[in-house]
Amino acid sequence: MKFNPFIFFEKASRLRALLFAFLILCFCLFVTDFFVRRYVYFEIESTYNFYSIYGFIMFSIIIFGSRLLRLLLGRPENFYAKKAVDSEDYPGTEEK
Amino acid sequence: MASEIKQGTLELVNHLPILQVITPMLIAPLLVVLNNKTLSWLLSFLGTLACLFISILLIQGVSDGSILTYYLGGWVPPIGIEYRIDAANAILLFLISIISVIVLIFSYSSLHAEIPEEKHTLFYSCFLLCLTGLLGVVATADIFNVFVFLEISSLSTYVLVAQGAYLDRRALSASFNYLIMGTIGATFFVIGIGYIYMATGSLNMMDIAERASQLGDNRTIQAGFAFIVVGMGLKLAMVPLHIWLPNAYTFAPTVVTCFLAATATKVALYVLIRFVFSVFNYEDNFVNELFFLLLMPLAVIAMIAASVIAIFKQNLKKLLAYSSLAQIGYMLLGLSLMSQKGLASSLVHMVNHGFTKAALFMSLGAFMLNTKNVYIKSLRGLGKSMPFTSAAFVIGGLSLIGVPGTAGFISKWLLLEATLETGYWLVAILIIASSLFAVIYIWKIIEVLYFSECSESYSEVSVLTLIPIWILALFCVFLGINTSLTVDVANMATEILFK
C-alpha cells in the first residue's frame, strides 16, 4: 500500500493534535488582529476582529438557515416523478 | 428594359418562355400513345429536365433585372397572348421545374407502392399536364390564359389526388371535395376576369393596368378583384377556405402530395401577387384595406391555429398538411404587409418552403415504403434502422422550424424584419410563437424516430430513393447559407413589382 496521508490521521490522538494545532492557529489569528492596522474600505471593517466574528456568525446563520429551509421545502426524492433523476441510480457503473 | 423578340428570327433562346410551358404539354399525349411504363417515366424525366434547363436559362436571362416577353403566334398584345418572364416568375418556374425533376426521380423507385402498374403511364401523363398548367399560369401575362392553365393544372390535380384510392378509398371523397372547391374557386376567378374585361375591355395584364388607371375608382373592377381574391384564396388554401387541403394532401399518393405541397399553393399565391401588383394598383385604397382588414388577420390565424392543430395530429401526412397551412400563412402575411421587404420574404419563403416541405413529405414517403402507414407510432426507432432518411427528415424539420443555417431561417428572418419594419410587434411575436409550435410538432416526430425502442426492424430504402430526398435536404441547407439565388432574385422581383 502506498503512503496515504489521510490514514496517518486516522488515529484519534493524531487527529486531536491536528485539531489542537488548528485551534492555536485560530487563536493566533485572533490575537494578531490586535497589532495590525488595516487599510479599510468601510467603517465596519475596522471593528476589532471583524472578519473572525463575521465569519463565525455568518457560518452559523447559514447552517441554521438551511435547516429551516429544509424544514419548509424538503420533500421525498421521488416528489416530482417516480423515475426522476433525483431518485434514480447512476446507470452502468462498474461497482455496485 | 424589355428585350423584345425579333420577329422572323429562329433563335432558340428567344423562344424559351413558350418552350418552358409547351415541352411537358407535348410529351403528355405522347406517353399515352406509347403506353409503356418505363419509357413514359424516361420521357417525362427528360421533359422535366429540359424544363429545368430552360428555367435556369430564363433565370440567367432575367437576373440583370430585364424582362423577357414572347408574343404567342407573333400576335402583338393586347390582342395576342403575351408571355412575360421577370425575376418574380422566373424563380417560381425554377422551383416548379426542379421539384418536378426531383419528384420524378423519387417516383421511379416508389410509385409502384402506391399506384397499380397499369396506371403508371396515365399517371405520368397527368403529372406532366399538371406541370404544364402550373408553368403556364406562372409564365403568362394574359389573365384568361391564367385561367385556362389554372384549369389544366387543377383538373389533372383532381385525377392525381384520386389515384390515392388504390391505398385508401378516402382519396376519392377528398378528391371530390377538392374538385368542388376548386371548381368554385375557378368559377369565381373567371367571374372576376369577366368583371375586369367588362370594365377595361382587355385581357393583357399590362394593358389592363394602364386602362384601369385611367378609369379611376371603378366599382366593377373592385368587384372583380373581390372575386379573384376569393377564387385564389381557395386555390392557395387561405384559412377558412382551406378545408380541401388537409384531406387532399393526406390521401393523395406521396409523390403527388410532395409535388403539390411544394408548388401548387405557391402558384396560386403567385397569381394573387401578380394580380395585386401588375393588374391592379397596389396603392389603391380598396386593395390595402382588404389586405389589412382581412388577409393579414387570416394569415395570422392560419399561422397559429394550423400549427396548434398540427401538434395534435397523429397522421403524419395530415400533420405536415396543417403545417403547410401555417406556412402559407407566413407567405400571405408577407404579402399583406404591402411592403417591399414583406413581399420579398413572401417570395423567398415560397421557394424555401417548397424545398423544405418536399423534403419532409418525401422522406415521409420513404418511411411509408417500409412501414406501410403514416401514423406517428409506426416511425418508432426508425432513426436507427433508416439513418439516412431520418437525417434528411430532421434537416427538413429544422428548416421548417427556421433554425439558423437552414433555408427556413432566411425567410423567417426576412419576414420578422419586414413585420418589425412595418411596426407590427404583436405579429412578430406571433411568428415566433408559431415557430415554437413548429418545434413541438417536429420534435414529437424526432422523439419517436430517435428516442423510442424499435418494434420492427426495417432496412434503409434504396439509394435511388435516397438521392432525391438528399438533394432536397441539401437544398434546405444550401439555401440557408447561400442566399444569392433566393433573396437577391426576390429583391429584384419586388423592385419590378413595386415599380
Partner: protein, 564 residues
C-alpha cells in the same frame, strides 16, 4: 491556409472527423488534441482583420479577437482539453462528438463580433450540450434534458427577438456595449440572464448538471454559464441592476447547497453562487471589477471542473454522488481526495489557491465603489462558499462516517486530468501575475499583502471553527435522501397542474359548446347533407356544403370590405 479559419471551425470539423474514427485510444487522443491545436492557433494567429462574412445585407464577424474575448477563448480551450482528457475512457461516438461541438460553439459565441453569429452559436451550445445529459440514457435524464433544452432554446429565441428589434431600431447588429433602456436590449438582457442563471431563471442549472453523465457534467460546467457571463461583460458592463442580481445570486444558493443531498447538485448551486460574484463584477463595471470577473471566470472554470471531476470520479467508481451514501472514501481514493481538497481550497479562496487571487479583485472593486451592503453580502457569500463547496463536498465524500464503500482509486486518465487542473489552480494562486497579464485591462493589484492574507484566513478559519463546533454539537443538517423545492416547482408541478385543469375545463366547455352548436345548426346541416349526398368517411364539419358556405361568407366579407 488552415490557420485563417475561425476558431470554432476546428472544433466542428474535429467533431465531424471524430464520428468516423474507430472507437479507441486513438479517437480519444484526437478529441483531446483538437482544443490544444485551437489554442495554439488562437495564440499564434493574427486576428486583427477578424473573419468577416457577408450574409444577406449584414456583415458578420466570426472572429472578433480582443483582450476580453481572448481570456475566455483561452480558458474554454483549456477546459475543453481537460474535460476531454477526463473522458478519455469513453468508447462511444456521441459524447466526444457533442463535447467538441459544444465547446466549439461556446468558443464561437465568445469570438462572435455581431449578434447574429452570437445567436447561432448560442443556440448551438444549447442543442449540442443536451446530448451530454441524454447520454445518461435514463428516463429521468431524458426529461431533465428536455427541460434543459426548452429553457436554453427559449433563451436563444428571446435573444433573436431582441436582436431583430435592435436591428430595426438602430440598423446595427454589432455586438458592443448596450444600454438597458429599450425593449430590444431588455430582451437581450433577459436572454443572457436565462443562460447566466439569474435568480428565478436558474433552475435549469441545478436540474441538468446533476443529470448529465460523469464526464458530461465536467464539460457542461465550463461553458454555458461562463459564456453568459462573457456576454454580459461585453454587452452590459456597468449596469447597476446586475450588482443586485449578482448579490442575490451569491446568497440564495448557499442555503440550498447546504441541505442538498446530491453532491453534484451541491456543486451546481455553488456554481450559481460563484456566477453571482462575476455578475456583481460586471455590474460594477470598473476596470478593476471587470478584470475581476474575467479572472474569476478563468479560475472558476478550473476549480469547478476539478470539483466536478473528483465527485465524478467517485460517482464513476461507486455509482452514487449522494452525500447520504458516501463517506470515508479517503482510505482507497486518497489522490482523488487530495485533488478534491485542492479544488475546495481554491473555491474557498484560501491564500496560495486560485480563488484567492481572482475573487479579491471583485471584492476590492465593490469596496472601491463604496457598495457597503453588497460588499458585506459578498463576504457572507465567501463564508457560504466555504460551507458547501469547501467543507461539505470533500467532507461528506471522503471523510465523515465510513460508508463501508472501498472503491478503487480513479482511473489513471481521470487522475491525470484532475492533477493537471489542480496544478493549474495552485499555479494561478502562487503566480497571479501570469493570470493578470492576460486580463482585459491592466492590473495594478497585489493580492498577497499581509493584511489581506490575515483577514482572509480569519474569515475562513473562524468559519471552519464554527463548523467544528456545530459539528460537535450535532447541529449540522443531516444527510438524508431528499430533495428541496426550488423555483422549478412552478414549472415542474404547478404549471402542468394548471394546464391539466385548464384542458379539463376546455374539454367541458368544448363539449357543451359543441352540443349547442349541433342543436342550432342541426336543421341547416341536415339540409346540406341531403344536397351533398352520402356522408362517407368524412367528418361532419368537412362536407362540401359547409365548405361552400364558408366560401360564400368569405366572398361576402371581401365584397363588403372592398365596396363599402
Amino acid at each position: 491556409m488552415l490557420a485563417t479559419l475561425p476558431l470554432p471551425f476546428y472544433f466542428l470539423i474535429g467533431g465531424l472527423v471524430s464520428i468516423f474514427m474507430p472507437k479507441g485510444v486513438f479517437k480519444s487522443s484526437f478529441v483531446c488534441i483538437v482544443p490544444v491545436i485551437a489554442l495554439l492557433v488562437l495564440l499564434n494567429g493574427n486576428w486583427d482583420e477578424g473573419f468577416k462574412v457577408q450574409f444577406l445585407d449584414l456583415e458578420l464577424n466570426f472572429m472578433r479577437v480582443d483582450k476580453l474575448s481572448t481570456v475566455f477563448g483561452i480558458i474554454f480551450c483549456i477546459a475543453a482539453f481537460l474535460g476531454n482528457l477526463f473522458a478519455f475512457h469513453l468508447r462511444e461516438s456521441t459524447q466526444p462528438f457533442v463535447a467538441l461541438v459544444y465547446s466549439g460553439a461556446a468558443i464561437g459565441a465568445v469570438f462572435a463580433g455581431d449578434l447574429i453569429t452570437l445567436f447561432v452559436y448560442w443556440e448551438l451550445t444549447a442543442i449540442s450540450s443536451v446530448f451530454l445529459i441524454w447520454a445518461r440514457k435514463t428516463e429521468g435524464a431524458y426529461h431533465s434534458g428536455m427541460r434543459y433544452l426548452i429553457i436554453q432554446v427559449l433563451s436563444g429565441v428571446v435573444l433573436l427577438f431582441g436582436v431583430a428589434l435592435l436591428y430595426f431600431e438602430t440598423g446595427s447588429i454589432s455586438f458592443i456595449k448596450m444600454e438597458l433602456n429599450s425593449l430590444a436590449t431588455a430582451f437581450i438582457f433577459f436572454a443572457f440572464g436565462i443562460k447566466c442563471a439569474f435568480p428565478f431563471l436558474h433552475n435549469w442549472l441545478q436540474d441538468s448538471y446533476p443529470s448529465a453523465t460523469v464526464t458530461g457534467t465536467v464539460i457542461l460546467s465550463a461553458f454555458t454559464t461562463k459564456l453568459a457571463v462573457y456576454a454580459l461583460a461585453r454587452g452590459f458592463p456597468g449596469t447597476e441592476l446586475l450588482i443586485y442580481i449578482g448579490a442575490a445570486m451569491t446568497v440564495f444558493p448557499i442555503f440550498f447547497a447546504e441541505v442538498e443531498n446530491d453532491l453534484r447538485k451541491v456543486l451546481a448551486y455553488s456554481l450559481n453562487n460563484q456566477l453571482g460574484f462575476m455578475v456583481v463584477g460586471v455590474g460594477i463595471g470598473t476596470e478593476l471589477a471587470l478584470n475581476g470577473t474575467a479572472a474569476h471566470a478563468f479560475s472558476h472554470i478550473l476549480y469547478k471542473a476539478l470539483l466536478f471531476m473528483s465527485v465524478g470520479a467517485v460517482l464513476f467508481r461507486t455509482g452514487t454522488s449522494r452525500a447520504s451514501e458516501l463517506g470515508g472514501l479517503y482510505r482507497t481514493m486518497p489522490l482523488t481526495a487530495t485533488f478534491c481538497l485542492i479544488g475546495a481550497a481554491s473555491i474557498s479562496a484560501f491564500p496560495l489557491f486560485s480563488g484567492f487571487v481572482s475573487k479579491s479583485l471583485i471584492m476590492s472593486g465593490a469596496g472601491k465603489e463604496h457598495y457597503q451592503f453588497i460588499w458585506l453580502i459578498l463576504v457572507f457569500a465567501s463564508a457560504g462558499v466555504l460551507s458547501h463547496s469547501g467543507i461539505k463536498v470533500p467532507y461528506f465524500t471522503f471523510f465523515h462516517h465510513d460508508s463501508g464503500k472501498r472503491p478503487n482509486e480513479a482511473p489513471i486518465h481521470m487522475l491525470l486530468a484532475m492533477g493537471l487542473t489542480a496544478i493549474l489552480c495552485i499555479y494561478i494562486g502562487v503566480f497571479p501575475n501570469n493570470l493578470y497579464a492576460i486580463m482585459p485591462f491592466e492590473v495594478k493589484y497585489n493580492p498577497y499583502t499581509f493584511e489581506h492574507i490575515l483577514t482572509q484566513l480569519q474569515l475562513l478559519c473562524f468559519a471552519i471553527l464554527a463548523f467544528i463546533i456545530l459539528s460537535k454539537l450535532r447541529q449540522l443538517p443531516s444527510e438524508i435522501r431528499s430533495i428541496n423545492l426550488d423555483f422549478d416547482w412552478t414549472y415542474r408541478m404547478f404549471l402542468p397542474f394548471l394546464i391539466r385543469k385548464l384542458l379539463l375545463f376546455l374539454e367541458i366547455v368544448e363539449q357543451k359548446g359543441l352540443k349547442l352548436f349541433n342543436k342550432s345548426f342541426q336543421l341547416f346541416l341536415d339540409k346540406v347533407y341531403r344536397v351533398s349526398g352520402p356522408e362517407g368517411v368524412m367528418t361532419k364539419i368537412l362536407t362540401s356544403g359547409t365548405m361552400v358556405l364558408f366560401i360564400a361568407i368569405v366572398l361576402l366579407v371581401v365584397l363588403g370590405i372592398i365596396l363599402f
